[in-house]
């Protein structure tokens, strides 16, 4: 029976080659898109699931916003005081260091961790011992070991870190997979961290600078532990406000539920994962609609077959089986097409989203998912023809010659409307996202990022930063420069417990952003001073600048200049007020920022390149100067404007993806429309012939044929606009500075849809309208 079904199915597909290929193209594209998104979503869900203890590992987060920074002594304290905790691991933030073996030197990123790091986080150890107990030990990843030692045995060898620090390789671990939250090229011991950094040795409760993780035994309820340790920080140090309570953030939620608000895990990446999942499903549905439409359009022809089959003994179930196997066959062919398409599309998708998905590395769950999805698609696509056609009463079909399947074009029009609704929503979404991105990108950021270059301070450049800057200026490459704790695009530090004149009770808990700077901060960045002056010389060591919002937050009385603010135990004099500038993301509301003159917290230097010279010339000169200080270090730099642009990578990716999806949705919808118009033209051949004999012109007939398809598109515009409006209003709420949803957006989207739909339909309509009417009438 199945063989027979398939045979008939194949013959039918072949007989209706045009419809079949339209169907398969649409389904293939739709499936390729949804499979790609499934692969992406599965990848997101697979984050950190390779750790054996992944269900029992938690990161400690602090306060309402769930900050990841914790004080150094917290870990050991919890280990001692809380028997329910099996293991505590502290890690530093990954930072790049220079690793040198022989004459090979590489700048790679790694971090310091407590000795049992690899026992809690089970990155597979290739050789050596897992414990990081010795101060002078270092664990390399496989690829780092290969880069440094080639094929030689790395364990027991010495690696020079930052030139002066020889460390012995004690183990080699597998590279962290792409779906690992921890990304590192090497691990160094906590003991080394201690001996290098004063603030780590000091074990201050008030200094939040490391990450702390705990592993609980399987039997322990995390909620109990959370309650127990909640107020540890405030109890141990009165300096820390009670609002800095502790939370446990489970490993399975690190990736997708990274946002914490009001002490609750609220969401994060899961929002885009959901969005993508919905999009994938939507596009697949559009493709399924094509299938249904084209099959029902042919139903008049198939109706007779159904009648005959019923007359010779088929029951409804068997006919449903037949139609289902037809759609199954078609879906299977489309599936192969989809996998081929996907294989071709993945590299582009990867570049777009910055991921590295590969079909060959797809997990079993992916194949399972696509098979289920294919069956589901076949079921949805086949259901309409299967149930509608199989319900035909055989005598009606067999009595006369031709069968009139009444009311049949209505559901088809509804389905077309549904397709175009989705497509138009996607068009509107694309327009809005694009406008919003260009809007925030063109927001005044308060400084001029053009020609600004960041260089990390390391080695001799760190020690003699001022000499380096002066040399660079003398070489003609730079015109100005200022030293910051971290690049302005990445300045996320904050501080509380500030004291200022007229401070009210409780205001010591207000968080201020901190950007430390040295001389010429204002002039280097091209910031605007509202009052006062720039930092001028080392004599400004107790000076301070504020941004306008900080002045408002502190509600300082006029004159503001000259007043004293106490930061970190130092009284500093306000010398300047800067207009608000963007130092994080521009869609954040302006926040108060203090700018202390502080070269001892230096991390990077920002230089303004000489506009008289070409950028490459400037960089060559700076590189020369850099190597005169640091011959062993590779010269690395970043452009501030590029880094700033990259901050909108998420929006850009989102925009690009939605654009692709919208295009595909339209292509698929148009394929369906094309099929329907081919069919309509064939069905109305006689009518067209008669009308032409009666004197209708090509234009009139074209209009007649196209009108049928215009109506559902027009209704789709009406349905899509409010939905898109609602969705995008919600999305735009994430942004402080946002565009308005102008009426012309809907109009534009509608026009695009209409024009594309009309073009598609008219190809066929014109063809049908230009045909010789005698021919059409003769065939009847």
């Amino acid at each position: 029976m199945i063989k027979n079904y398939l045979k008939i199915a194949w013959r039918n597909l072949w007989r209706n080659r045009v419809f079949s290929s339209i169907n398969m193209a649409g389904l293939g594209i739709g499936m390729a898109v949804s499979f790609t998104l499934i692969l992406y979503v599965l990848f997101q869900f697979s984050y950190d699931d390779f750790h054996k203890n992944n269900r029992y590992i938690y990161q400690l987060k602090v306060g309402d916003d769930g900050g990841a920074n914790t004080p150094v002594p917290l870990g050991p304290f919890l280990q001692k005081s809380t028997p329910e905790i099996k293991e505590v691991i502290r890690t530093s933030y990954p930072t790049p260091h220079l690793l040198k073996v022989g004459d090979k030197s590489l700048k790679l990123s790694g971090f310091y961790a407590d000795p049992t790091f690899l026992e809690v986080f089970t990155f597979p150890i290739i050789k050596g011992q897992a414990k990081l107990t010795e101060e002078n030990s270092i664990i390399l990843t496989e690829s780092t070991a290969r880069k440094l030692f080639g094929n030689a045995e790395p364990v027991g060898q010495i690696v020079n870190v930052d030139i002066h620090r020889p460390l012995i390789v004690t183990a080699v671990v597998k590279d962290p997979p792409r779906n690992s939250t921890f990304q590192f090229s090497y691990l160094a011991s906590w003991a080394l961290f201690r001996s290098m950094e004063l603030w780590v040795r000091n074990e201050e409760w008030g200094n939040f600078g490391v990450n702390t993780f705990v592993q609980l035994p399987p039997a322990v309820d995390p909620a109990v532990v959370e309650r127990k340790i909640r107020n540890v920080l405030h109890e141990q140090s009165a300096v820390i406000p009670a609002t800095s309570y502790l939370l446990l953030h489970g490993m399975s939620k690190w990736r997708l539920y990274s946002e914490i608000k009001g002490g609750k895990i609220t969401g994060g990446e899961i929002a885009s994962v959901r969005l993508f999942a919905l999009l994938g499903l939507g596009i697949l549905l559009i493709a399924c609609v094509n299938f249904m439409n084209l099959s029902t359009a042919q139903s008049e022809r198939r109706a007779r077959e159904v009648g005959v089959r019923k007359a010779v003994g088929a029951n409804r179930k068997m006919l449903i089986g037949q139609f289902m196997s037809e759609s199954m066959l078609l879906v299977m062919i489309s599936l192969i097409l989809a996998l081929l398409l996907m294989w071709g599309m993945l590299p582009t998708f990867n570049t777009l989203t910055g991921s590295s998905l590969k079909l060959s590395q797809a997990p079993l769950s992916f194949w399972l998912a696509i098979i289920i999805l294919a069956l589901f698609t076949a079921a949805i696509s086949g259901s309409y023809p299967a149930f509608v056609l199989s319900a035909f009463k055989p005598i009606k079909v067999l009595k006369g010659g031709l069968v009139e399947v009444r009311g049949n074009s209505r559901p088809r029009q509804v389905l077309v409307m549904f397709q175009f609704t989705l497509a138009i929503i996607l068009i509107i979404v694309t327009i809005v996202i694009y406008r919003q991105i260009s809007f925030i990108r063109n927001q005044p950021i308060g400084y001029d990022p053009k020609g600004l270059v960041d260089v990390q301070l390391e080695g001799k450049v760190y020690e003699n930063y001022d000499a380096f800057l002066q040399e660079a200026i003398r070489s003609g490459a730079a015109v100005n420069g200022s030293v910051l704790m971290s690049p302005i695009t990445n300045a996320g530090a904050s501080m509380w417990a500030l004291k200022w004149p007229g401070q009210l009770a409780g205001e010591e808990n207000i968080n201020f952003g901190v950007v430390t700077a040295t001389e010429h901060f204002i002039s280097t960045f091209g910031l605007t001073l509202k009052e006062g002056r720039d930092f001028l010389s080392a004599g400004d060591s107790l000076s301070l600048m504020l941004n306008e919002t900080a002045v408002k937050t502190m509600h300082l009385k006029e004159p503001v200049l000259g007043q004293q603010v106490r930061i970190n135990g130092q009284d500093r004099t306000i010398v300047g007020i800067v207009k608000d500038f963007v130092w994080m993301k521009s869609y954040m509301p302006a926040s108060p920022v203090v700018i202390p003159f502080n070269p001892s917290w230096r991390g990077s230097i920002t230089m303004k390149l000489n506009p008289q010279l070409s950028v490459s010339e400037c960089l060559q000169r700076i590189e020369k100067v850099y190597h005169s200080f640091n011959p062993d270090y590779p010269f690395e730099y970043t452009f501030v404007d590029e880094t700033y642009k990259r901050k909108y990578a998420y929006e850009q990716v989102l925009g690009a993806l939605i654009n692709v999806f919208a295009t595909l949705a339209i292509i698929i919808s148009c394929l369906g429309l094309l099929g329907l118009s081919v069919f309509a033209a064939a069905r109305r051949k006689k009518e067209i012939g008669i009308r032409k004999v009666l004197g209708a012109g090509i234009a009139q007939v074209t209009v007649l044929l196209s009108k049928e398809f215009l109506k559902p598109v027009l209704i789709a515009i009406l349905v899509a606009s409010p939905i898109a409006w609602y969705v995008m209003m919600k999305w735009l709420e994430n942004y402080t500075y946002r565009i308005s949803m102008d009426w012309w957006i809907y109009l534009l989207a509608g026009m695009i849809a209409i024009v594309i739909a009309l073009l598609t339909v008219s190809i066929q309509s014109v063809k049908a309208a230009s045909m010789n009417p005698v021919k059409a009438l003769r065939t009847e």
Partner: protein, 220 residues
């Protein structure tokens, strides 16, 4: 073999109803060859469809081999339909996508017959009707007479007790019509198959044993 008691059939039309058949009483015995005649719209095709289980009467009883069809469930009815009844249509109604062989095979597929048996049955009937050479052709490659021959072969392949033919020669010219009617006669006489045909043609009606005249939904 077939007994109809007080069968009527009507469709709702607006607020009233359109009566097609009224109070039909009919007996057809095993081995009979019956012709149903009557003007267009008299209800003869509807009667044939009711006999063939393609339509249900609005009222009345239908006994097939003494069993009440009107009380049967769907499953039993389908069984009866597949096992005991063969249909022949005026417009042949072959499936365009299937070859001659496959068209004939289709009813056997729906009876879930094993492949080997199917094969031999179809081969037998092809042989008998002298259409072995045409078994791989599609219906549109055959003449009308040949198509109807395939239609009859398809009706016969399931070895039905009764063949219901709805104007089987209506689309054929007289020579072909004669051939088909001879075939019916032969089937009736040699194979003892009960045949009920609807026809306009007096000549065709003479092939049968009995003529039932229908006028305005009633047996005249």
């Amino acid at each position: 073999m077939i007994q109809l008691k007080h069968i009527s059939k009507h469709y709702p039309v607006g607020f009233g109803k359109n009566e097609i058949l009224r109070d039909i009483d009919l007996r057809i015995f095993e081995g009979e060859f019956v012709s149903i005649m009557g003007p267009s719209g008299s209800g003869k095709s509807t009667l044939l469809h009711i006999l063939g289980l393609l339509e249900e009467p609005s009222q009345g009883e239908y006994l097939f081999d003494g069993e009440p069809v009107h009380k049967m469930n769907e499953k039993k009815r389908t069984q009866l339909h597949r096992g005991a009844i063969g249909f022949v249509f005026q417009a042949y109604h072959l499936i365009d996508e299937l070859t001659v062989y496959e068209n004939i095979e289709t009813p056997l597929l729906y009876k879930n017959m094993p492949a080997a048996e199917r094969k031999s049955r179809v081969a037998d009937i092809l042989d008998r009707f002298n259409i072995v050479a045409k078994k791989d052709l599609f219906p549109n490659q055959l003449s009308g007479g040949q198509q109807q021959l395939v239609g009859i072969a398809r009706a016969l392949v399931g070895e039905p007790k009764v063949i219901l033919a709805d104007e089987p020669t209506g689309n054929l010219h007289s020579d072909q019509a004669k051939e088909i009617m001879e075939l019916f006669k032969q089937l009736n006489e040699k194979d003892k198959i009960t045949i009920v045909q609807v026809t306009h043609s007096e000549l065709n009606a003479t092939y049968g044993h009995r003529i039932i005249q229908i006028r305005d939904g009633k047996i005249a």
